[in-house]
């Protein structure tokens, strides 16, 4: 190719302090740093570890549920406690863990590094977002301390069960304002990241040279801008219903309970992609680095992300097929269409690995686990997208199994992201030995938990029942599922243990432990204030690779 020959050799030496000069102010440490820092790296770490705390707490709630269901007619917890468990489990997993872990945690930390920016566009605003997020999380948990307990109506809080007469007490109100605050935090983060990506890129970092991760977060942020305000509005209407007698969702006052479902799922389906799309980005980065190849079909990947984002705005009512109040053909067609760009992504991930020199470390293993699990969740998604099939399994454990495959599939890539990026954040690698053990336990445990639930659903077990009779034919599958849950918990503990021990005692990573490709590997580990002492020339979507391998420059197509 002539392109390769025409490219000039671009010398790059890291840690040459002449290119960027920073005049630092005083830098506090410890708890003062945690509270007041406007550094995107500190805030990103705050998000990551708050989200992980949420994951552990909500996982504990899942264990309570699985313990209750392990044998028929069990009385491990009361009905009320069981209802609180599945409600807050779902709420925390979706609003506190899965989404913010990726777009606010990894996003905050990595986006300025990946586009060569000194910080986020609005550093103090960024800090405010974190406190709103932590405040929302705390208020959600505070529900357990109230007299009537936390909210008990499931994470999507259908009307009229949420009305004051059916769910009295402050638990439900805390659920409303907790979600409201985390939603507000999400909107602020979206504004911040979009501005950062549009205005703070390094010279030469054109839009079509940004890493796929940055593109995916950008699309996610645009989805948040549309989805979260609708959620906030729905919550405000619900609050007015409960306290001021508004009657928006109350049929006896001329309202429509179905309005809640429309508003909630207009947020709720984009939310699924708000959760999943950043993890697609994490997986793309890891697969590309660990295969030691550029991303296959870079622009196709971006186009697929954009189409997923666009289509996801038109599929909300596929959660509402059985209400009989929605346009089945429209939503079925739109939902099936989303499988196409997602398929393109799978094709490109495989194409990236194809004939690459694959490094099978823990991060890559998690990504392969993500590919397998997410693909399975996608296939059951195609089943559920068809009204004729959805009517049979709606609100059964089949649906539970489906969305856990989708979400835990995505979160697998998130764990891969921890193994991939924590060396950049802490300067130390995580232990591969513990990591592989943790991955194996998680992968086996997860599949053992949720695969039997498909069959449970087909055998008619509804979701959210707190116990069941022995003669239903559900005993063995529930037992398997609960044992799987304990193995999954063990896997999570091994990974958490690994993070904490490696933080202090891990192998020193160096600046570029994986021979990475994108800009975050051009600064030291952990990066200094305002990130870069020197930037390599940006001539393709993997500038660090080009600087380190002048004999294997990335082909550029423009």
């Amino acid at each position: 190719m002539t392109i390769l020959e025409e490219r000039p050799q671009l010398p790059f030496e890291a840690h040459e302090p002449s290119l960027m000069e920073i005049v630092p102010g005083p830098r506090p440490r410890g708890i003062v740093k945690f509270v007041t820092s406007t550094d995107h790296k500190q805030i990103g770490l705050n998000y990551l570890f708050t989200a992980l705390t949420g994951f552990l707490l909500a996982g504990l709630m899942a264990l309570v549920m699985r313990t209750q269901l392990i044998v028929p007619n069990n009385h491990f917890v009361t009905e009320n406690v069981y209802n609180e468990m599945f409600t807050i489990h779902g709420t925390i997993m979706l609003f506190v863990f899965a989404g913010p872990f990726a777009f606010a945690g990894f996003g905050n930390y990595m986006i300025p590094l990946m586009i060569g920016a000194p910080d986020m566009a609005f550093p103090r605003f960024n800090n405010l977002s974190y406190w709103l997020y932590l405040g929302g999380f705390s208020l959600l948990l505070a529900g357990f301390l109230t007299n009537n307990g936390a909210a008990q109506f499931g994470w999507f809080g259908y009307a009229p069960l949420t009305e004051a007469i059916h769910s009295p007490g402050p638990g439900a109100d805390l659920w409303i304002v907790g979600i409201g605050l985390t939603g507000l935090s999400g909107i602020f983060t979206a504004v911040n990241i979009i501005t950062t990506v549009f205005t703070l890129r390094a010279p030469g970092m054109v839009m079509f040279r940004m890493p796929i991760f940055v593109w995916n977060i950008l699309v996610t942020m645009f989805l948040i801008l549309l989805a979260f305000p609708v959620l906030t509005a729905a919550m405000a209407l619900l609050w007015i219903d409960r306290h001021l007698g508004g009657g928006f969702y109350d049929a006896s006052k001329g309202g429509q309970p179905i309005l809640w479902q429309n508003l909630f799922w207009f947020f709720g389906h984009p939310e699924v992609y708000i959760i999943a799309v950043p993890y697609f980005g994490v997986a793309t980065e890891i697969i590309s680095t660990m295969s030691r190849k550029p991303v296959f079909g870079y622009k196709g990947m971006i186009a697929a992300t954009l189409s997923i984002g666009a289509l996801s705005m038109g599929v909300w009512a596929h959660h509402m097929y059985t209400t009989g109040a929605v346009l089945l053909p429209f939503f079925a067609a739109m939902s099936l269409l989303i499988a196409v760009p997602t398929g393109i992504k799978f094709f490109n991930w495989i194409g990236t690995m194809w004939r690459g020199t694959i490094v099978l470390n823990t991060a890559m293993l998690f990504c392969l686990g993500f590919l397998a699990i997410f693909l399975f969740g996608g296939i059951t998604g195609v089943i559920l997208a068809q009204p004729v099939l959805d009517f049979q399994v709606h609100n059964t454990y089949f649906v539970v199994a489906h969305f856990h495959y989708v979400l835990i599939g995505a979160v697998m890539a998130g764990f891969g992201g921890l193994y991939y990026w924590l060396p950049k954040m802490t300067g130390r690698k995580l232990s591969e030995k513990w990591g592989k053990l943790g991955f194996a336990l998680l992968f086996i445990g997860f599949n053992l938990t949720f695969f039997p639930q498909h069959d449970l659903g087909l055998r008619g077990m509804p979701r959210r029942i707190e116990t069941y009779n022995a003669g239903m034919g559900w005993n063995f599958l529930n037992e398997l599922s609960s044992i799987g849950a304990y193995i999954t918990a063990l896997g999570v503990l091994v990974n958490v243990w690994n993070i904490f021990t490696s933080w202090r005692n891990g192998e020193i990573a160096g600046d570029n432990p994986w021979d990475g490709q994108t800009l975050e590997w051009a600064c030291s580990s952990p990066p200094p204030d305002h990130n870069f002492e020197a930037l390599p020339p940006i001539r393709s979507e993997r500038p660090v690779w080009d600087a380190n391998h002048p004999d294997m420059l990335t082909k550029v197509g423009h």
Binding site: L19, P24, P26, T36, T38, W131, L184, N262, L327
Partner: protein, 163 residues
């Protein structure tokens, strides 16, 4: 700015088409009571129209002269000078956040929480806006050695331009 504005305006166009198709189909087949979906789609494309038009205006006002980050052949020297002002540590975001959390508590337990929330919130607004000592005089190309303060940093690249 070209790619940015095109991306947002492309999403806007898609949402317009989506809204029209959905509206027609609901009118033909659906229940006449389902109006929330159309309302939400209209608000969605309106939001993108606002943002997309702003980005387009930003692109047009440069009269075809691209920014350094929009040029394929830009070097680090092209982006030399002060990038922007980045405030350093600040106590005001957490104060404002606490104020908003107290405001949220007022929605649950009663109005007296609002008093604390309002004091914290507006106190934080005051502290926030008076804290920064950003100066408008700092233009790209300024010498960063003369800048910097106890409240924030001017991050810059390529301090020594070849002129």
């Amino acid at each position: 700015m070209k790619v940015e504005s095109r991306t947002v305006l492309g999403a806007f166009s898609f949402l317009v088409i989506l809204a029209v198709v959905y509206w027609v189909l609901v009118a033909l087949h659906g229940s006449s009571t389902e109006r929330s979906g159309i309302a939400m789609l209209v608000f969605s494309f309106s939001a993108y129209a606002l943002l997309g038009t702003y980005l387009l205006a930003q692109y047009l006002r440069r009269h075809g002269i691209p920014r350094a980050e929009d040029r394929f052949d830009a070097t680090q020297e092209d982006g030399a000078g002060v990038i922007d002002y980045f405030p350093a540590t600040s106590i005001w975001p957490v104060a404002m956040g606490l104020g908003m959390v107290f405001g949220a508590c007022a929605l649950v337990w009663g109005l007296w929480y609002l008093a604390i929330g309002v004091v914290l919130f507006f106190g934080a607004v005051f502290g926030w806006v008076t804290e920064s000592d950003y100066t408008e005089d700092v233009l790209p190309g300024s010498d960063p050695d003369e800048l910097g303060s106890s409240h924030g940093d001017y991050a810059s690249t390529g301090a020594h331009q070849d002129h």
